[in-house]
Amino acid sequence: MAVDTAVRTGASPSGPGATITPATTRRRLPPWHNPWRHAWFLEGFTWLYLIWSIVPIGLAVLFSFNKGKSQSAWQGFSLRWYLTDPINSVLHGAVYHQAVIQTLRLSALTTVITVPLGVAFAIGINRWRTRTSTTFNFVMIVSFVVPELIFGVALFSVFSQLYTSIKLGTWAEVLGLVIWNISWPAIIVVARLVSIGPSFEEAAADLGASRFEAVRRVLVPLLAPAIFASAVLVFAGVIDDFVIVDLLSSSSATQPVSVLIYSTTRGGNNGPALNAIATIMLVVSLIVATLGYFAYRWMTRGERGANTQDALANITGM
C-alpha cells in the first residue's frame, strides 16, 4: 500500500534504501491528476441531460393547472381544465374522459389477456423441448424486433381484409396490443424460469406431488415476481402505445389518450385540457410503476441476484 500511495502522489523513491518523505513535504499533484477523483464533468453532463429530459414534461404538467389558455404565460393556479370548464375540461368534455376510459379499458383488457397467455407460453416453451417449440420461440423473438409500423400495417390489413367480422375498434385494438406486448411476459418469464431451474419441481416430485400440483404450488409462486413485473410492463406499455391503436381505431369513440393528443395537436387545438389528460395518465403510470416496484421487492425479498437484470440483459443482447 505504501508503494501505491507513492505512485498516487507522484513522489518517487530515489533509490533502494531511500526513506519515504513525510506527508507534509510530499509534492502533491493538482486535483485533476487524481485518477480516483469524482467525475464532475460527467455528472454535470448527466444533470444537463436530466434537466433537458424532465423539465419540458414538468412544464406541461404545470400548465395543465394554468388558469388561462396560454402554454407559456402563467396565469394562476386552477383546476379549470380538470373539473370546472363546461366544455373543455376532462370532466365535462366527453371526448376527453372517453379517451381516458378507453385507455384504461385497453390497458386492463390487454394485460388480463396477455399475461396468462405469455406466461403459459413461456412455461411450455421452456419445458417442451422440441423443434416446434424452438421455432415458435424464435418467432416470438422475431415479433419483438419488427418495427411497430410494419406490425401495424399487417394487423390493419388482416382486420380489414380477412378477419372482417372483427371490425376496427376496441377489440381489434386489444388483439393488436396483445400480440404486440406478448413478448414481454414471454421473455421475462423465460429468464426467470432459467434462473430458477428444475430443482424445485424435482423436489416437489420427490415429495409426491403430481405434475399439476408442482406447477400450481411451487412453480407459479416462484414465478410470481416475473409475472407481476411483466404485467406492470404490459400495462404501462399499452398506456403509451400509439401506432397500433392509431391504425386500428375506427372513430373518436375508440381512440385512447395517445391518439387523442396526436389528432388534437395536429389540428392546432392545443387546449390545456390535453395537458390535463396527459398528466392524469402520467400519474396513473407512476402509481402503477411504484406499486409494482414495491410489490416486486416484497415478492423477491430474501432472494439474492437480480432476475430483472437477467431479463434486461436478455433483451439487450448482452
Partner: protein, 406 residues
C-alpha cells in the same frame, strides 16, 4: 353480392370470405364481378333527382312531435352552437344528445356499419349518393320544414338533390386565400389570378396550404387556369402536382395543415390557403394587442372558386323522425341561424342573412366581410364533388407523391 355488401366494400375494402375460404378461393381470386351500375354522380350541369324507394318512404304528415324523446345529432366537432340546441330542447321539451366526428370517412363507416342510431346527420354533398342508395337516410316530408322559404331559392332544387327530397342546407363556405396585411404587400384581388398569390419567394417559410387532397390539388389546377375541379385527366393532375412542387421549392418548404384559424392570427403563417368559415372566426384567435383588421380573406369577385355546402339529413334509423324534421326546420330560422353563426363562423344560406346584417350584429368584423358567401358565388362557384373510384385514387396518389404522407 347485394348492394349493401358492395357499398361496405367501397368504404372498408372488399373482404375475402374468411379463414375457411382462404385457400379454396383459388380460382376466384378476384371475387365475383358485381352487376351493379355505377352510382350517378351529380354535377352542376348534370343534376340528379334521387329515387324514392318503396321501402324507404317519408313519414306521413300531420304527426305530433315525439314527447320526452332524445334526439341524437351526429355532427363535425365544434360545428354547432350548444346554446341554440338548448333552446330547441326547451321549445320541444326533449333532450338532444350530440356526438361528434373528426373526418367524414369515420362518420360514414360508422353509419354504414349499423352501429349507430342517430337521428340527424351532417354530410357533404359528395357522400349523398352512397347514403341514398344504401337507404341510410330517409326522404323528407316537406310539410314539417316550412322555414325552407327563408333559404336561398337555389336550395329548393339543388343539382345534387333535385326537389330537396333528402337534404336541407346547413352551412355554405368558400375556399380562398387569407393573408396578413401587416406583413405581406399586395392583395390577391389585385392579381389576375388571385390563386397564384401563395407562389411568392419573398415570403419563404411563411406559406401554407390546406391538408386536403381535393382542396390543394384544386389550388394547383386553378394556378394553371384549369377550373374543372372534378377532372379525371391524369395530365392535368400531374401539372397541378408539378405546380405544388414548384411552390414547395419556391417558398423553402410549404406547410401543409388545416390550422389556418390559429396560425394566421398568431403570425406563424402569413399566406394561407383557407376556408371562409375558419377565417370568419379569426377575431377570437388574435393575440393580445393585434387587431383583427390585419387579417384579410380573398375569394374571386366573379365567384369562380371552390364553394361547398354541408347539409342536414334525417337517418333512416331515426327513432324520433318528427323531432328530427323539426330540428332541421329550427336551424333554418333566422334568429337561430344568427346565433349559430356567432359561434360557428360558417355562414348559412338564408336570404336575410347578409354580410351587412352580420356586421351589424357584431358577429363579423367589417374587414372580413369577404368570408360571407353570396348567392352569386354559389351559382358561379366550383364544386368539388364525388369522383369515379379510379380518378379518386389518382388524386390521392398524386397528393401522396407531393406531400410524402404528411
Amino acid at each position: 353480392m347485394s348492394r349493401r355488401d358492395l357499398l361496405r366494400g367501397l368504404g372498408a375494402g372488399a373482404g375475402a370470405a374468411g379463414l375457411g375460404a382462404l385457400l379454396s378461393a383459388c380460382g376466384n381470386a378476384a371475387g365475383a364481378s358485381p352487376t351493379i351500375t355505377s352510382l350517378p354522380l351529380p354535377r352542376k350541369n348534370h343534376p340528379v333527382r334521387w329515387p324514392i324507394f318503396k321501402d324507404n318512404q317519408p313519414i306521413p304528415s300531420g304527426l305530433k312531435p315525439e314527447v320526452g324523446a332524445t334526439l341524437k345529432l351526429y355532427n363535425w366537432t365544434a360545428y354547432i352552437n350548444q346554446a341554440v340546441i338548448n333552446n330547441f330542447q326547451k321549445k320541444y321539451k326533449c333532450s338532444v344528445e350530440w356526438t361528434s366526428f373528426n373526418t367524414i370517412t369515420d362518420a360514414i363507416s360508422k353509419i354504414k356499419s349499423g352501429e349507430a342510431d342517430y337521428d340527424v346527420f351532417v354530410p357533404t354533398p359528395d357522400n349523398l349518393g352512397q347514403l341514398i342508395e344504401a337507404k341510410l337516410i330517409q326522404p323528407l316530408n316537406h310539410s314539417y320544414i316550412p322555414n325552407i322559404a327563408q333559404c336561398w331559392p337555389d336550395f329548393l332544387n339543388p343539382f345534387y338533390d333535385q326537389g330537396w327530397q333528402y337534404t336541407v342546407p346547413y352551412t355554405v363556405y368558400t375556399t380562398g386565400i387569407t393573408w396578413r396585411k401587416d406583413h405581406v404587400d399586395g392583395n390577391p384581388a389585385q392579381w389576375k389570378n388571385g390563386f397564384q398569390f401563395p407562389w411568392q419567394k419573398k415570403y419563404a417559410g411563411k406559406v401554407a396550404i390546406l391538408d386536403d387532397y381535393r382542396e390543394s390539388l384544386s389550388l394547383g389546377l386553378m394556378y394553371n387556369g384549369n377550373y374543372d375541379l372534378n377532372t379525371t385527366s391524369a395530365s392535368q393532375l400531374r401539372l397541378s402536382k408539378a405546380s405544388l412542387d414548384d411552390l414547395d421549392t419556391l417558398v423553402g418548404g410549404v406547410q401543409i395543415d388545416n390550422n389556418d384559424y390559429t396560425n394566421v392570427p398568431s403570425g406563424q403563417v402569413w399566406i394561407h390557403h383557407a376556408w371562409s368559415g375558419d377565417m370568419a372566426a379569426a377575431a377570437s384567435y388574435m393575440p393580445k394587442g393585434v387587431p383583427v383588421e390585419v387579417v384579410g380573406y380573398w375569394f374571386p369577385a366573379n365567384g369562380v372558386g371552390p364553394v361547398a355546402n354541408d347539409n342536414m339529413v334525417v337517418l333512416k334509423t331515426s327513432k324520433a323522425p318528427v323531432l328530427a324534421h323539426l330540428f332541421l326546420n329550427y336551424f333554418l330560422d333566422l334568429p337561430n341561424v344568427i346565433e349559430n353563426i356567432s359561434f360557428n363562423g360558417y355562414i348559412q344560406p338564408l336570404i336575410k342573412c347578409t354580410p351587412e346584417l352580420l356586421v351589424q350584429e357584431k358577429i363579423l368584423p367589417p374587414s372580413l366581410m369577404s368570408t360571407v358567401v353570396l348567392p352569386s358565388y354559389f351559382r358561379n362557384g366550383l364544386f368539388e364533388l364525388e369522383l369515379p373510384p379510379t380518378a379518386d385514387v389518382q388524386w390521392e396518389q398524386d397528393w401522396l407523391e407531393f406531400s410524402g404522407g404528411i
